[in-house]
């Protein structure tokens, strides 16, 4: 069938929408939101890291910039969530362009180190920026009755589409996650994806075969960074209190590269599978054991996959079915 994937996207969104309308335990929202966020972040990471082979350790930086762009806009003029997301995407995209311009000439490990440094520098800046709360953090008051294009979105009494803001944000997160996967898949099956693959396999050979390597890497970094920024933008409204360590969340950053690597980096479905599986395991672990166990789980799985099954879960299944 021709539009199998697109139909799948619509069905997923429909399911997510129905989920928000049903009367469901709060915990499942929280867990579902986290998993959708992981899908988006690891899919974004994989555009540069999986297709192009450039390991970005700076996911936390892009997420944090997205979060604080949203906070700054709220402080500045009480921007709505859609404006926050769009602006955060643009700002994080430009950040990607700037970082890429200075660091993408560096090969492999140097690029990785530069991106890690970026996250630390940005967090330090925000720590000292009082307008957005500085080190003490900042509380966000979500608007009581947000509207979009004249339509009432959230209303406690049931006049809007959603009963409360968390449901609305959950659905927005789902839309963004599906959009990210669609973008990643479109890239993968297009010229950009093939060029990035050539870069990953052998950058000098790619360049000599006519691939404009720097340009493609920059485009990938901008798209990847913009998506991370957008994922970060929704975070302050969702948790309603943000300080630098939660916005520049190192655990999210580790997950963003561990999930694609465990799921499989070479195709769009790898990060999706990795995020859903690991995200679920982590949410269960939070309830049953403790949240500290999560990094341990991720670490052990990461070591296992990198050494035993570098193609990830998806690659392993594809090999079995050959």
């Amino acid at each position: 069938m021709r539009f199998k994937f697109e139909i799948g996207c619509v069905l997923v969104l429909l399911a997510c929408f129905i989920f928000t309308q049903a009367d469901i335990n709060r915990f499942y929202y929280f867990a579902g939101f986290a998993i959708l966020q992981y899908v988006m972040i690891s899919t974004a990471w994989n555009i540069l890291g999986g297709y192009g082979g450039y390991i970005n350790f700076g996911t936390a930086g892009f997420l944090g910039v997205g979060s604080y762009a949203a906070i700054a806009l709220i402080e500045f003029y009480g921007a709505g969530i859609i404006e926050q997301i769009v602006a955060a995407g643009i700002i994080a995209g430009f950040l990607g362009l700037a970082i890429g311009f200075f660091t993408l000439r560096l090969k492999g490990v140097y690029f990785a180190i530069a991106t890690l440094a970026l996250a630390i520098v940005l967090e330090t800046i925000v720590n000292n920026w009082d307008y957005v709360g500085g080190a003490a953090g900042v509380s966000i008051l979500p608007p009581r009755k947000p509207e979009l294009l004249g339509i009432l979105i959230v209303d406690r009494k049931g006049d809007g589409i959603f009963q409360n803001n968390k449901e609305y944000l959950f659905f927005l997160m789902a839309v963004m996650a599906v959009m990210s996967v669609w973008i990643a898949r479109t890239i993968e099956f297009g010229k950009l994806g093939r060029g990035l693959n050539a870069i990953k396999d052998n950058e000098e050979a790619a360049e000599c075969m006519g691939v404009p390597t720097l340009k493609l890497k920059l485009v990938a970094t901008v798209i990847s960074g913009a998506l991370m920024g957008m994922a970060g933008a929704i975070f302050p409204s969702y948790v309603t209190y943000v300080d630098p360590p939660t916005a520049f969340n190192l655990e999210l950053a580790v997950n963003s590269l561990a999930m694609p690597m465990i799921g499989g980096t070479f195709t769009w479905i790898g990060p999706v599978v990795g995020s859903i599986l690991l995200g679920t395991v982590q949410q269960v672990a939070i309830v049953t054991i403790s949240s500290e166990i999560n990094l341990l789980i991720i670490g052990v799985l990461l070591i296992f996959f990198v050494t035993v099954a570098p193609q990830g879960i998806v690659g392993w299944f594809m090999k079995k079915n050959k």
């Binding site: 010229k191 093939r194 060029g195 693959n197 050539a198 990953k200 396999d201 052998n202 000098e204 050979a205 790619a206 360049e207 000599c208 075969m209 006519g210 691939v211 404009p212 390597t213 720097l214 070479f266």
Partner: protein, 241 residues
């Protein structure tokens, strides 16, 4: 076959204090089959790197098709019509043979073609190279000889005006050398100018209209194959006396 397609003018390349190329000047004519020889470490690959843009030469000019190449990136030079192979094959190892060829086709020679036309173009080249039945195989299963052929096939897929082959025949048997020579001559007769770097003297002498010899980064001889084989300097460079 008269005007120069490639002009190399006083090209110098240093690695730290070491001079890998010193003041090399030569010309490759349009349609020519041009041999580049020299002992190990004499600077042949370094010269190719400077021409293809993977290294930047400190001194001198390289002019291709009337255009000064300084400041042009490697991929722009490929688009302008220079494609090279690598002495140690560098296949795109996560792709099939067919997809390896589709990279230069999509990015250079056939960028306006449809996906199916690109496949046809790749297939045509693979057929000429005798690799058609391997089109959908991964590169990991290829023998050394097949990897060298893939290097050539991929470079040819960019439809270059100037093809630079860096030791495409190392390790090949006599028959295989003849096979590759035939292929290169066929493309040359179709209008492709070719620079061949080779240690197999029989092949390079049989192939080339003209040959130059590098030794320790210096151009020590230039001429037709019969002149080069009799050249005392070339003999000294190879025998090391």
């Amino acid at each position: 076959m008269s005007e120069a397609l490639l002009k190399v003018e006083s090209v110098t390349k240093n690695f730290g204090g070491f001079t890998a190329l010193s003041n090399v000047t030569t010309e490759v004519l349009t349609g020519e089959r041009f041999g580049l020889i020299g002992p190990n470490g004499s600077g042949k690959t370094t010269l190719i790197n400077c021409i293809s843009g993977t290294l930047v030469n400190e001194g001198g000019n390289i002019i291709f098709d009337g255009q000064e190449l300084a400041g042009m990136k490697a991929h722009q030079r490929t688009a302008a019509g220079i494609t090279r192979t690598f002495q140690i094959p560098r296949p795109f190892h996560s792709m099939t043979i067919m997809d390896n060829l589709r990279i230069p086709i999509e990015f250079v020679s056939g960028s306006s073609s449809s996906q199916n036309e690109m496949k046809d173009q790749a297939m045509e080249i693979l057929e000429t190279m005798g690799m058609a039945e391997k089109a959908n195989e991964e590169t990991s299963g290829l023998t050394q000889i097949e990897l060298r052929k893939l290097e050539l096939a991929r470079a040819i897929a960019a439809k270059p005006k100037l093809l630079i082959s860096d030791e495409a025949m190392a390790g090949l048997t006599g028959n295989e050398v003849d096979e590759v020579l035939d292929i290169l001559i066929k493309f040359n007769e179709a209008g492709m100018t070719i620079i061949m770097i080779e240690h197999i003297m029989r092949a390079v002498m049989q192939f080339s209209h003209r040959v130059i010899c590098l030794d320790a980064g210096q151009l020590i001889a230039e001429g037709t194959p019969d002149v080069i084989v009799k050249d005392k300097g070339v003999e000294r460079a190879y025998l090391g006396v």
